[in-house]
């Protein structure tokens, strides 16, 4: 018995288990593929550069690059150059160290072309697109952990044509360690260039949160090589824009029916109209919005796209030349504050803002606006929607019910002013008289289950479930919770204006980081489960060290945040433009004269050009760590203006 067992074991070993032999061959093939391309993989270090809008997400360490032409051009992920480094240094595979110039960035595919003074660099062989197969081996290569030999991660190709047609997906581990490096097939041909990407966002750092998760992306190398010559000219390649938007963000179900057209956009100039149904793009039929995004996802500014649309019963074709930049979206307003209690018909005026179009046209409190530009409006949301379709400075005829009279007025819409009026009348309480029992108000200290993180909040004692509150989320500076000071400055305003103040605590964490975004979202969700929060009136405040995370949260979560306040911080890095789909207003307060404060006026100008209504408030430096009650009062009035129409 023993003997038989041993014999069988011995035989298994002697005949070299086919599984073992296959495993050994696979290892060898992987290592050979890496060796084949190793000489084309370079390490990139950067020196200097801006502080980050998104702390922690930006790569401050080394990154990887790949040779794309033998006369010294290298491609890398745009991710590493977000911070606009002072100096870029490249270490070639043979150990040579060279300074590099940033030539241009493809902002559609998020890759950056660099140039070093070197000749006869080895360009790796691209894998042809026809060879791409889901399930084939995929090897991610970087040169950051060790300069001597490249780092390796092995996986498979998980999908093709991801992120709106731009990328291959792989389950090999992709992270700042190998962004910019090649994804290889088992023969050592380059499938793509590794880069962080997200189908839901654009920008250099979109998708970084998926690092090492088994969801990684690579821009097909054949596509990169196709644009290298254009990038060599030094001009960035931009995603092609046409200036149309759709009613819903649910891409799977949404139909490609144009909801809004941006003023002065290529779509408007070409003659597209709202309510046009797009039936084909460049001859390819589309039924859902997602299908259209797949086609548009790889189009550059400068290209012309042919749209087939259905208008009524008629089919028409339009050639739309895409542009890289649209004129900024400017929300238009009339200058009224609506009564927040539900109205039976029309929008009831609570206050008319001074010097606004409404004031000039003689509108009064208690007027009921029932029609704008021959569209009937039954509530504030509908009026807001109608205003999004108008440019500031447009004359528009309105019908107003005043007592028993119905009067016609013509208003000229205006842009949102960059100042806050000295008085903003508060909405008087309209909730039910009796407060339901067990409803906690006042200052409350709690811990958010699931995250095990403490927070405090102040719920105005006037709160009734049928009267929605504004929400102000305060992120305290790293070492100073400021609980007493913030409460002192806000308490009266919370009571007066119906604001719920919510203040999560760091609780021993070294500082706010992008890892906290999920906690913040969940915290807001938790508060909304227990208290009625008005749509459109949520503000996040960042102060000093918490400002970058407040900003990141606001730009990442437009469906949660409507206003962003920054106190005593330096200007933001690059931000996306404001759009009608996700409007964000900004309030910036700088106390005293600081170097950082001096940089704001120019930054505010940029923000306004990007379409952000921005109030800049430079106030005296007081002794208090948080702005004084008086300084804070203007901020509270600004919060109360977020539902202005």
């Amino acid at each position: 018995m023993t003997f038989a067992l041993v014999m069988s074991l011995g035989l298994t070993l002697a005949s070299a288990d086919p599984a073992a032999s296959l495993e050994a061959q696979t290892d060898r093939a992987v290592q050979q593929a890496v060796a084949l391309v190793s000489a084309s993989v370079v390490r990139i270090d950067t020196v200097g550069g801006l502080e980050q809008l998104e702390p922690g997400m930006a790569s401050a360490g080394a990154t990887t690059g790949l040779v794309v032409s033998e006369d010294g051009y290298l491609i890398s992920s745009a991710f590493h150059f977000v911070s606009k480094p002072t100096s870029i240094l490249v270490t070639l595979a043979d150990g040579r160290r060279l300074p590099a110039q940033l030539v241009a960035t493809d902002r559609q595919r998020m890759v950056t072309l660099l140039k070093v003074a070197a000749e006869r660099l080895p360009v790796p062989q691209p894998a042809p697109r026809e060879s791409f197969r889901v399930g084939q081996w995929a090897i991610a290569v970087g040169r950051t952990l060790d300069v001597e030999s490249p780092s390796v991660s092995v996986g498979i190709v998980s999908a093709l044509n991801r992120v709106w047609g731009k990328a291959l997906q792989t389950d090999a581990k992709v992270s700042p360690v190998n962004y910019g490096g090649p994804l290889l097939d088992i023969d050592g041909r380059v499938l793509g260039v590794l880069a962080p990407l997200s189908p839901y966002e654009s920008g250099e750092t979109a998708g970084v949160e998926w690092y090492d998760s088994g969801i990684g992306f690579a821009i097909p190398f054949v596509d990169v090589l196709a644009v290298v010559d254009r990038l060599k000219s030094g001009d960035d390649l931009l995603p092609g824009l046409m200036g149309i938007s759709f009613q819903t963000k649910d891409l799977v179900r949404a139909e490609p029916v144009i909801d809004k057209i941006r003023f002065g956009s290529p779509a408007e100039k070409a003659g597209l109209k709202e309510k046009d149904r797009i039936t084909a793009v460049d001859g390819q039929p589309v039924v859902r919005l997602a299908e259209m995004k797949h086609i548009m996802g790889v189009k550059y500014a400068g290209e012309t796209v042919r749209f087939t649309i259905k208008r009524g019963d008629q089919s028409q074709e339009f050639d739309v030349p895409l542009v890289g930049e649209l004129a900024p979206f400017q929300p238009a307003v009339l200058g009224i504050l609506p009564v927040r209690a539900p109205s039976e018909t029309g929008v009831v005026v609570r206050a008319v803002l001074p010097e606004s179009p409404a004031a000039k046209a003689g509108l009064q409190p208690q007027d009921r606006l029932v029609e704008i530009g021959s569209t009937a409006v039954t509530n504030a949301t509908e009026l807001h929607e109608a205003l999004l379709r108008l440019l500031p400075g447009t004359e528009v005829a309105c019908q107003v019910q005043r007592g028993d009279e119905k009067i016609a007025v013509t208003l000229t819409t205006a842009a949102i002013p960059n100042t806050v009026p000295a008085t903003v009348p508060a909405q008087s309480p309209f909730g039910m008289d009796e407060r339901p029992e067990k409803l906690a108000t006042g200052q409350i200290n709690e811990t958010l289950a699931g995250h095990d993180r403490p927070y405090w909040m102040y719920v105005p004692t006037r709160y009734r479930p049928d009267e929605p509150l504004s929400l102000v989320l305060f992120l305290h500076p790293t070492l100073n919770p400021l609980e007493r000071e913030v409460l002192a400055a806000w308490k009266t305003e919370c009571e007066l204006r119906g604001i719920l103040l919510l203040a999560p605590k760091l609780d021993g964490q070294p500082g706010w980081s992008p890892n906290d975004l999920e906690f913040l979202s969940d915290l807001i969700g938790h508060v909304k489960e227990n208290y009625t929060i008005a749509p459109g009136r949520t503000v996040v405040i960042g102060m000093e060290t918490s400002a970058p995370i407040a900003a990141l949260f606001a730009f990442r979560q437009p469906e949660l945040v409507n206003g962003l306040t920054l106190i005593d911080t330096k200007p933001l890095g690059q931000v996306p433009e404001n759009t009608p789909e996700r409007l964000l207003s900004l309030y910036v307060m700088v106390r005293g004269n600081s170097l950082e404060g001096a940089k704001w006026p120019q930054a505010i100008d940029t923000l306004q050009k990007l379409g952000y209504p921005t109030v800049f408030s430079q106030v005296e430096q007081a002794d208090s760590p948080y702005p004084t009650a008086e300084q804070n009062a203007e901020l509270a009035r600004w919060v109360d203006l977020l539902d202005r129409l």
Partner: protein, 366 residues
């Protein structure tokens, strides 16, 4: 992305199966194993070709589950260890789990033992435990350590997240060696107690409870011990590292034989760094260090100093000291500050579009 450590309850006694598998079976396995080795010696190529399935069968019994102190807040109370002798010597990481009087060690067959700490080398993040047992399957450190390069398939065995309880073997995770590199004890980048050569693995091998587990090649050769969870504070990414057994072998053997002397704690100086030199000692004045990432531009070169003789110029940007990148003024100050009198130092500066290399020497008397 990293799994959050949500499984953090303390292990209680009744969770542990106490019914050992028949000793007879184990003995049989050992006999067969011995004969297998004998066959292997005769057929070295055949042993090379051991498959993953066979390796897992062979390695799993040599990895133990350790339960000890912790269990509160974010401190898990479980870990992994490697049997390194048939009499129950176990190598594991030095951690808070070992803070209590004793720990509980559970073998893959469910047998429970009290483990006592025989010795530790905190600088290597290493501890050795002893349980009172005999005839255990183990890694022979003299015979079975190995080395492997990037792209090699590896297997990580550990009780990550305490998935295995009682008479279950630990979990196996496969991946490849991503790189062989050094964990630089660079201030603020890594908060690792260990600095030195490591393997980096491309899969998530280092999660709660994994530290102290073992990394082997596909065919069962011993590579190293899984490290703790480690985050790079600059990129906010997690790093899965393994300490090579070649680093751990002699201290383990010394602790086992009772001949261990801990290294003198010369790391104390790294905790409080006194900058011995500053750029002026070389004749350099840098631009004012105003923000965290101020690049190390030379503002002035003092005439007649070695910086001037070496040809350094105003507006040169210092980019490397020896082979290390200088991302900012602050890091140049740190690098120069750590020199010993008489140390040579190579600076690489960027001048326009060229890199220039100069040699300086730390002055002997100042």
């Amino acid at each position: 992305m990293k799994m959050t450590s949500s499984i953090q309850h303390d292990m209680t006694i009744h969770d542990l199966h106490q019914r050992p598998r028949s000793r007879k079976t184990s003995a049989w396995v050992l006999v067969c194993f011995g004969l297998m080795l004998a066959c292997g010696l005769a057929l070295p190529l055949a042993v090379q070709a051991q498959s993953v399935v066979e390796t897992v069968e062979q390695v799993s019994p040599k990895v133990v589950k350790i339960f000890g102190a912790g269990g509160r807040k974010n401190l898990y109370a479980y870990g992994s260890g490697i049997l390194v002798s048939p009499e129950g010597h176990i190598a594991t990481v030095w951690s808070h789990i070992l803070d209590g009087e004793s720990v509980t060690v559970v073998l893959d067959d469910g047998r429970r033992f009290n483990g006592r700490i025989l010795g530790a080398e905190p600088q290597l993040d290493l501890a050795v435990l002893k349980i009172d047992a005999e005839d255990l399957p183990y890694f022979d450190l003299d015979a079975s350590t190995s080395d492997a390069g990037p792209g090699t398939t590896v297997l990580a065995f550990s009780n990550v997240f305490k998935v295995a309880t009682g008479d279950e073997p630990v979990s196996v995770i496969h991946g490849v060696i991503a790189a062989k590199t050094r964990l630089a004890a660079k201030r603020g980048v890594f908060e690792a107690p260990y600095s030195g050569p490591v393997y980096v693995v491309d899969s998530v091998t280092n999660n709660s409870g994994a530290a102290g587990g073992v990394l082997t090649t596909r065919d069962g050769r011993l590579l190293g011990m899984l490290g703790k969870e480690l985050k790079n504070n600059v990129t906010h990414t997690w790093l899965n590292y393994v300490v090579p057994m070649s680093e751990l072998k002699s201290p383990i053997q010394q602790i086992v034989t009772g001949n261990f002397k801990p290294r003198s704690s010369d790391s104390a100086e790294s905790a409080v760094t006194v900058r011995r030199y500053d750029p002026r000692d070389f004749g350099l004045v840098l631009i004012p260090n105003v923000v965290a990432r101020t690049p190390a531009y030379i503002d002035r070169v003092v005439p007649g100093t070695q910086a001037a003789q070496a040809g350094l110029k105003v507006d040169d940007l210092v980019v490397f000291v020896d082979d290390r990148l200088v991302p900012s003024c602050a890091s140049l100050l740190d690098e120069l500050g750590q020199l010993e009198p008489g140390d040579p130092v190579t600076l690489v500066v960027r001048r326009g579009d060229k890199l220039e290399t100069v040699q300086l020497t730390a002055p002997r008397n100042r």
